[in-house]
Amino acid sequence: MWTSILIAVATITGIALASGLLLGFASRRLPPRTDSLVDQVNELLPQLQCAQCGYAGCRPYAAAIVDDDADINLCPPGGHDTVRRLAALLDREPLPLADAASSVSMSSLAIIDESLCIGCGWCREVCPVDAITGAHHYMHTVIARECTGCELCVTRCPVDCIGMVAAR
């Protein structure tokens, strides 16, 4: 009888050991799942990179949401729809928007008044999607196709030569 118990114990231990090794190997060597929760959350955000949530861009905000550092209602351009979708994805309570008053949207576009531009390059520095181009001390301009309308450059301009227009 003891032998059969020993055999059973040895078999189970063997299986446990083997699968433990296999899983350990897999988790170390195989690439991690790319479609992580942060990516899923990031997917739902409007990608304006406007930083109105207080984070540097949509992805950092997504990471903060997943880490439970931030609420899901901090994205004004995304609006209630985004909050609702985030709530559904993360199984949280949909909250009212923290700061509802926001004109920022994908349908607006920054325009540099080129006669006023002094070429300081500050706007180029803050643009989250590299949509502003120009050489130092020369006129800068907005690449309309790439501009997300985040308005970050507007307040940064020292001569106040950037305005927003309705684009699309």
Partner: protein, 514 residues
């Protein structure tokens, strides 16, 4: 020879038998509208990119001269329809935008109607290599004249990469009132079949069906006669039943070949290429007679027109002049529609010019009365008549709820906007309008999504670049720090000497934030 009755037709789903209303405009032959005082030629008379003007203001142009060239992979050139002087390139109301302005070239005609000499003599198309034949068709500014105005050369080029069985010549004008293709086939049947021969040569196929509706006996007869005269056994005239919308590309393919074009696909997916009869005639006139697409047959009709007729008019002729040629408006005229009553566009002004897409100028005496919309009673009539077998009543709910996923699942993209569902709905629900809106909304969302994706990638690239820069700076600082820590007495001595020699201090460089 009478065309043989055809029993081997496929079945069209749904559809409606609408009153034809075509007798008025087919009573007399095609009348030629005189050259107007001014021609307005929009740069976008085709689907794809707008053509680029190649003439300047004040320049003299001749009839048939290239005035705007094709731009990019999907585009078509525009030619001057008569001789004269370019007076402006400016915004002008166009029918494509319901009477809102779009860029146009405006020519003041000199009345001489002088044609430009041919750049190269007309050579038989059989002696041309395929590539240059297609290129030549492109240069003729020829587009699909059925209404979609897709550039013909590009359609042929795309089709040439696929295995094809047959060419389908669309002589089915299923919308009420329109009769321009009917008249064209009656009067220029030879041009149409010769054009079809060129198209078959360009596609390298040996079969061509010419589909004509059963309510056009004269056109059927004339086309059959033209075929007999030409003695080309590769072409067959097929009589199809008069049901709206049997003239839609996919519907016609199903009727004639009994093959269903897959959802989201093209007729080429089932081995067919559909071309309008007018397009075939235009191809013939350009390839064999050297006349680019500068005029077209169009129907002027409706109970708001004094004498309805079909006219041959230069492209760019203002609609007002064509209407005046047809006797003008009656007192009862209320609404001007470019196109047919089902799928046409209501325009706000008759200053719009005739363009390649204009197959009908319809003036109605009554506006469609706005009937009270009532709740859907789920009678299912709309589903019965839908030619693409959709469930309009379901789609309507999803369109109201803006449910993009469900709309896709239920095949909204396959809706051809024929308007059959609208006509039969006993509750007068504006189904087609809501589908058009929903389609636009889906396109907008897809566009937004693509832009968001691009913004995401650019943001991530920028973040990565900044991290690398930061890392580099830190490494440099660390290295300097290490150098300072490991500096021995020798290096310190050197530094002191450098200072003693009185080396001028480094000039301050201006440093921007970058």
């Amino acid at each position: 020879m009478r065309p043989a009755p055809t029993f081997d037709l496929g079945k069209l789903n749904g559809g409606l038998r609408l009153p034809g209303e075509k007798a008025n405009s087919t009573a007399m032959g095609i009348q030629v509208v005189p050259v107007p005082a001014q021609l307005v030629l929009p740069l976008t008379q085709h689907s794809g990119n707008a053509a680029q003007p190649v003439v300047g203001i004040g320049e003299k142009v001749l009839k048939g001269q290239l005035i705007a060239d094709a731009d990019g992979a999907l585009s078509a050139p525009v030619h001057a329809s008569s001789s004269g002087k370019v007076v402006a390139i400016e915004q002008w109301p166009v029918s494509r935008r319901h009477g809102d302005p779009a860029p146009c070239i405006i020519i003041e005609c000199d009345g001489r109607d002088e044609a430009i000499g041919l750049a190269e003599p007309v050579i038989p198309y059989e002696s041309l290599p395929l590539e240059s034949l297609l290129q030549k068709i492109l240069q003729g500014g020829i587009v699909g004249l059925g209404g979609a105005v897709f550039p013909t050369a590009q359609k042929l080029m795309q089709a040439n990469t696929l295995p094809l069985e047959s060419l389908l010549l669309n002589g089915v004008e299923c919308e009420p009132y329109i009769s321009c293709d009917d008249m064209l086939m009656r009067e220029q049947a030879a041009d149409v079949v010769k054009g079809a021969q060129i198209l078959m040569y360009a596609l390298g196929i040996q079969k061509c069906y010419i589909a004509i509706e059963s309510d056009k006996p004269e056109a059927l007869q004339k086309m059959a006669d033209a075929l007999t005269a030409l003695n080309d056994s590769r072409m067959v005239v097929k009589m199809v039943p008069t049901i709206y919308p049997s003239g839609g590309e996919d519907q016609l393919v199903q009727l004639v070949t009994n093959k269903e074009v897959p959802s989201g696909g093209l007729p080429t997916d089932v081995g067919c290429l559909v071309q309008n009869v007018g397009t075939a005639a235009a191809v013939y006139r350009w390839i064999c007679e050297g006349e680019p697409l500068i005029s077209r047959v169009t129907t002027v009709t409706g109970d708001g027109i004094v004498s309805p007729m079909n006219v041959l008019a230069r492209l760019g002729t203002p609609v007002a002049e064509i209407v005046a040629f047809a006797g003008g408006y009656t007192d009862r005229a209320k609404q001007l529609i470019i196109g047919g009553p089902m799928m046409g566009k209501s325009v706000t002004t008759d200053r719009v010019p005739l363009v390649k897409a204009t197959n009908c100028i319809l003036v109605m005496s009554h506006l469609a009365p706005p009937l009270d919309e009532r709740p859907c009673i789920r009678c299912g009539e709309c589903a019965v008549v839908c030619p693409v077998v959709l469930q309009p009543q379901e789609l309507y709910w999803f369109a109201c709820a803006d449910d993009e996923v469900k709309l896709r699942e239920h095949g909204l993209i396959d809706c051809i906007e024929c308007g059959c569902c609208d006509l039969v709905c006993p509750s007068h629900i504006p189904l087609m309008a809501s589908f058009r809106q929903a389609k636009a909304r889906i396109r907008e969302l897809a566009d937004e999504k693509a832009r968001a994706e691009r913004a995401r990638l650019r943001f991530e690239a920028r973040t990565l670049r900044r991290e690398i820069e930061e890392q580099k700076r830190e490494d440099e600082l660390a290295q300097q720090k290490r150098a300072a820590i490991t500096a021995g007495p020798k290096e310190i001595q050197e530094m002191v000497e450098r200072a003693r020699r009185g080396k001028p201090p480094l000039e301050r460089t201006e440093k921007g934030p970058d």
